[in-house]
């Protein structure tokens, strides 16, 4: 395995959403993307807890943007996935694919 970082299901989804927005990801769009595409209701509270955990693990990093109207003149915290995070996601996917090998038929049949 390429990485020592273990990622939970929600954590993987959050990473996926962050990657999708390519450097423009922050709380609100990530939340919406999870709701639309992953068909899963995530509360903002759970999302922030996950983001904090991911940052502690070193798989994402954040930077503050300029203040903006439309959100009370407050700055956005843009999120991006670190190389370590990309590595972790890849290895998570590889693990899953290995586990699934030969099982598709059993499940779908």
């Amino acid at each position: 395995m390429g990485s020592d970082v273990y990622l939970g299901e929600l954590e993987q989804m959050v990473l996926w959403a962050i990657l999708r927005f390519d450097g423009e990801a922050y709380g609100t769009p990530v939340l919406e993307a999870l709701e639309e595409r992953a068909d899963r209701t995530v509360t903002p509270g759970a999302l922030y807890a996950t983001i904090d955990r991911l940052e502690e693990k070193g798989v994402i990093e954040s930077r503050l943007a300029d203040p903006e109207p439309g959100r009370g003149g407050r700055r956005k915290r843009y999120l991006s996935v670190t190389p370590l995070g990309q590595e972790a996601l890849r290895s998570a996917r590889a693990t899953w694919m290995r586990l699934w090998e030969g099982l598709e038929e059993a499940v779908e049949g």
């Binding site: 503050l64 009370g72 407050r74 700055r75 956005k76």
Partner: protein
């Protein structure tokens, strides 16, 4: 704009919980974005958005607060006391440990935690809501410049202190010219006017201003400006200033300043909009310059003005009263006929604005405090029984060296942590309740625009929470101390004595609250079932308004033709015209002058008068008791005749036959000329269902030709809908006459009771909460007490006691504190009853059915609460109980 901002309180709570810096900012920003998106959605978006914001703010906030607490726990080294740290720091450290301990112990009993938090959140929330209203209504200064110097001035009977009634323009002019106590003085009068703007027409409450009402009150407009005294009076331009509420209703967010409104057919230029909290007088939709000529302004026969004045610098109300007393004496001398027994009243303005709501909100405040107290009693009981179960824990800690004080402190900390948690939820509940109150009872909350939850209210909530925590924590803390002292008192501990006392207190408070609820419900039903004196079923009222620039002959012809047309509409049985709708509208009054009869002192007879068409009586269902009804020939040009009501007959001509009596109406016969009474009709409660039917005089339009506007009453076929063709009928006669809509009389009457309904609803709700809380409390405590006696009961049964007699014994013992509580509660209700008098109608504060009902209800609840655990206890298997020893 206010709509677009997330709830301030929730935002503040969240901000306080989040770690600082960019982190806090980004989360708050995200949530605000989410809030705005949801608020912009159609259909209650704002309401749902606020709920969404609150939920998530509390969730995120709680998450971070807990994580911070735990993090501290895991990093003890960071927090090690520095060298030279004081004992106080150690004390704080101990508190933190106590708090953590309390949190852990509550996490282990989620059921208890839920019950406790729900009880506290409801109790504290209700207190927060009502207090935020109470503070505004009774404590916040009026929204005017130096409100302490404002007074109201009016006429009053010399033998009736504390009253104040309207006065004439002549009075006002004399006061203004001859007094020196006041810096400024203005008079105003209500007038219901028709406002046309484009195609829409609306009836609104206008205030006619004579002499600088805005100058006296000293409050600038929000947009535009208010008019000054110099702009009023004849010859000037017609100007109007809108109230905030009316502006929003009529214009939305559109700019109103500069637009032209046709008010009763005359164009008025809107020059300003007043702030939302400026509501003087309360019902004002707009203020307009009065179109009075010099003659009107010195007349002494038209009673419709009220005066407001600003006391001069350093002038006391007493001095102003003295000066006005002198003026009143001289007026009495000059006009003995009119002013006999009449004086002048001067009252501070603040008292009057509050008097409108009386003590309702104070009583509600007392009610919610009682609810919270009942909740505290429940919690004290719950904690006491928890404490009993934790007796061994205390013993161990004591053995390990914990001091008495330490254990008491621990117990108190646990209560306070609980109370603060309940208080935090209480803020949310209070905010929701307040929004609900303002939304569903528009007009029910005085000065609503100034009511809200702000730091002051939050401080109150915090104080309430701490107080509640101390209250319900005191007994358990004392018990912890006793348990810590040792085992000698253990066998006959105090909790068994304390709990019955708590039950008694709880029942007593429930009696008070339920009685208040019962009384308001009974007075509402008494009012609703009161006969207004007209037959309101299948009766509808249409409001129209003829511009008053029409000559009187033209107006009368219009009304007569309209009556005929409407009578031919399908589903309409008959049609009648009336100058003011009974019960709903204000009905004017006048002096009743019998030729050759003079009255000494202030008891000059007066009566309300209604101008009607002959068809009115049949249409409205007013019954003829004697004589005959009116015809169009009873006017000035025929033989002037009037009808009197039963009350008028009794008051004006006691013991005599009223038919054939003659009198004129008003001063110097300016309302109606000398007329003959030709009949007596039944009483109608013209002034509202909660008032006595006043003495009333009825005259046809032809007798009082100067009366301008009429309401149309339609008697419908039973089951017929309100007819559709009214608007077309009016258009067909004169397209320029605005039609203001038609309503069923039943609905209008129900609307006139909405204030009473609100009061009943609020008290009913409080009573219900009190009932549920006290039932739960009594049940919990008794179940616990009986449960503790299971062993004793087991022994009794083992040596041959009969289960029925065991149950009876338990029931009897349990009922003692309930009976004491009932007795105390009834006595307290009797003592407090007079405070309720202003809120109830048709029942006395000591209403036997209410008190009996409350007593029976609580007895039944308590009996069930005792019987169930008693039955369970009497069914225990003696062997098993004894074996468990």
């Amino acid at each position: 704009m206010r709509e677009r901002r997330p709830p301030r309180v929730a935002e503040a709570i969240l901000a306080a919980c989040l770690p600082g810096g960019g982190y806090r900012e980004s989360v708050l920003g995200d949530l605000e974005e989410g809030y705005r998106r949801r608020a912009a959605e159609a259909g209650g978006g704002r309401w749902r958005a606020a709920a969404w914001y609150w939920t998530n703010a509390l969730r995120i906030g709680a998450g971070y607060a807990v994580r911070r607490l735990l993090r501290r726990r895991y990093r003890p080294l960071e927090r090690a006391p520095r060298p030279g740290a004081t004992t106080r720091r150690i004390g704080l450290g101990q508190t933190r440990a106590d708090v953590r301990f309390a949190l852990r112990s509550y996490r282990r009993s989620p059921g208890f935690l839920t019950v406790a938090l729900v009880t506290l959140a409801l109790g504290i929330g209700a207190n927060t809501t009502i207090f935020s209203v109470v503070r505004t209504v009774y404590f916040e200064p009026l929204p005017f410049h130096e409100p302490g110097r404002l007074v109201r001035i009016g006429l009053r009977g010399l033998d009736r202190p504390g009253t104040m009634s309207v006065h004439t323009a002549g009075d006002f002019r004399e006061w203004r010219e001859r007094t020196s106590s006041f810096e400024a003085m203005a008079a105003w009068g209500y007038r219901t006017v028709t406002v046309e703007r484009g195609d829409a027409a609306e009836r609104v409450t206008a205030v006619l201003s004579v002499g600088s009402l805005f100058d006296v009150l000293g409050r600038p407009a929000t947009t535009g400006r208010a008019f000054s005294g110099a702009e009023e009076g004849p010859g000037g331009e017609n100007l109007a200033v809108l109230s905030h509420a009316y502006w929003r209703r009529a214009f939305g967010s559109e700019d109103a300043v500069g637009s032209i409104l046709r008010i009763d057919g005359t164009p008025h230029r809107v020059i300003g909009v007043m702030p939302a909290e400026f509501a003087y007088p309360r019902a004002a939709d707009l203020w307009m310059t009065a179109p009075f000529d010099a003659e009107t302004l010195s007349a002494r026969n038209d009673y419709f003005l009220r005066t407001v004045a600003r006391l001069g610098e350093g002038v006391s109300v007493e001095r102003a009263r003295e000066e006005m007393g002198g003026i009143a004496a001289s007026t009495r001398e000059r006009f003995p006929e009119t002013y006999a027994g009449i004086g002048i009243a001067v009252e501070p303005m603040g008292e009057w604005l509050r008097a409108g709501t009386g003590s309702l909100w104070w009583i509600l405040m007392a009610g919610v405090v009682l609810v919270l107290l009942i909740g505290c009693v429940n919690l004290a009981n719950l904690l006491l029984s928890r404490g009993t179960n934790r007796r061994s824990e205390y013993a161990v800690r004591r053995a390990l060296g914990a001091g008495e004080g330490r254990l008491v402190r621990q117990a108190l900390t646990e209560s306070l942590v609980l109370a603060l948690g309940g208080g935090a939820l209480g803020v949310l509940v209070g905010w929701l309740l307040l929004e609900a109150l303002l939304r569903w009872m528009p007009g029910g909350v005085p000065r609503a625009a100034s009511v809200g939850i702000d730091p002051g209210i939050l401080a109150f909530t915090l104080g309430m929470s701490l107080l509640a925590g101390l209250l319900f924590g005191a007994l358990p803390a004392l018990k912890a101390r006793r348990d810590a002292i040792g085992s000698r008192l253990r066998r006959r501990g105090g909790s068994e004595r304390a709990s019955p006392a708590l039950i008694a207190a709880e029942i007593a408070m429930a009696v008070i609250l339920l009685s208040a609820a019962g009384l308001t419900v009974r007075s509402f039903t008494a009012l609703s079932s009161r006969e207004p004196g007209i037959e309101t079923r299948h009766l509808a009222a249409a409001r129209i308004s003829i511009p008053n620039d029409r000559p009187s002959g033209e107006r009368h012809a219009f009304y007569r033709r309209l009556e005929g047309r409407l009578a031919r509409l399908p589903g309409v049985r008959s049609v009648g015209l009336v100058s003011s709708l009974p019960v709903v509208d204000f009905t004017p009054g006048a002096w009743v002058n019998e030729p050759g009869v003079t009255h000494e002192g202030g008891d000059r007879p007066s009566a309300k008068y209604q101008v009607v068409s002959p068809g009115y009586f049949e249409t409205a269902g007013v019954e003829l008791l004697r004589g005959r009804l009116l015809t169009r020939d009873d006017g000035v040009e025929g033989s002037p005749s009037v009808l009197v009501s039963r009350a008028a007959a009794r008051e004006l001509f006691p013991g005599e036959d009223p038919v054939g009596k003659r009198f004129d109406l008003g001063l110097d016969a300016n309302v109606a000329p000398l007329s003959t009474v030709v009949g007596v009709v039944d009483d109608v409660k013209l002034d509202g269902l909660d008032e006595m039917a006043p003495a009333a005089v009825y005259a046809v339009q032809e007798l009082i030709p100067w009366w301008e506007g009429f309401q149309v009453m339609l008697r419908l076929e039973p089951g017929a809908p309100v007819p559709r063709g009214i608007r077309e009928a009016i258009r067909g006669l004169d397209p320029s006459v605005p039609f203001l809509g038609v309503r069923r009389m039943d609905d209008l009457l129900a609307g006139s009771l909405s204030g009473r309904r609100n009061t009943m609803f609020l008290f009913g709700l409080l009573g219900l909460v009190a009932l549920v809380l006290s039932a739960v409390g009594v049940f919990g405590v008794l179940a616990y007490l009986v449960g503790r006696r299971t062993r004793e009961i087991g022994i009794r049964m083992a040596i041959g006691a009969d289960p029925v007699s065991v149950r009876a014994r338990v029931l009897r013992q349990g009922m003692i504190p309930v009976a004491i509580g009932l007795g105390t509660g009834l006595a307290a209700t009797a003592a407090l009853g007079r405070f309720l008098e202003s809120l109830i109608f048709g029942v006395r504060p000591l209403d036997a059915p209410t008190l009996l009902g409350v007593t029976a209800l609580l007895l039944a609840v308590a009996a069930v609460a005792i019987y169930l655990p008693a039955r369970r206890a009497s069914r225990v298997d003696p062997v098993r109980v004894l074996a468990a020893e």
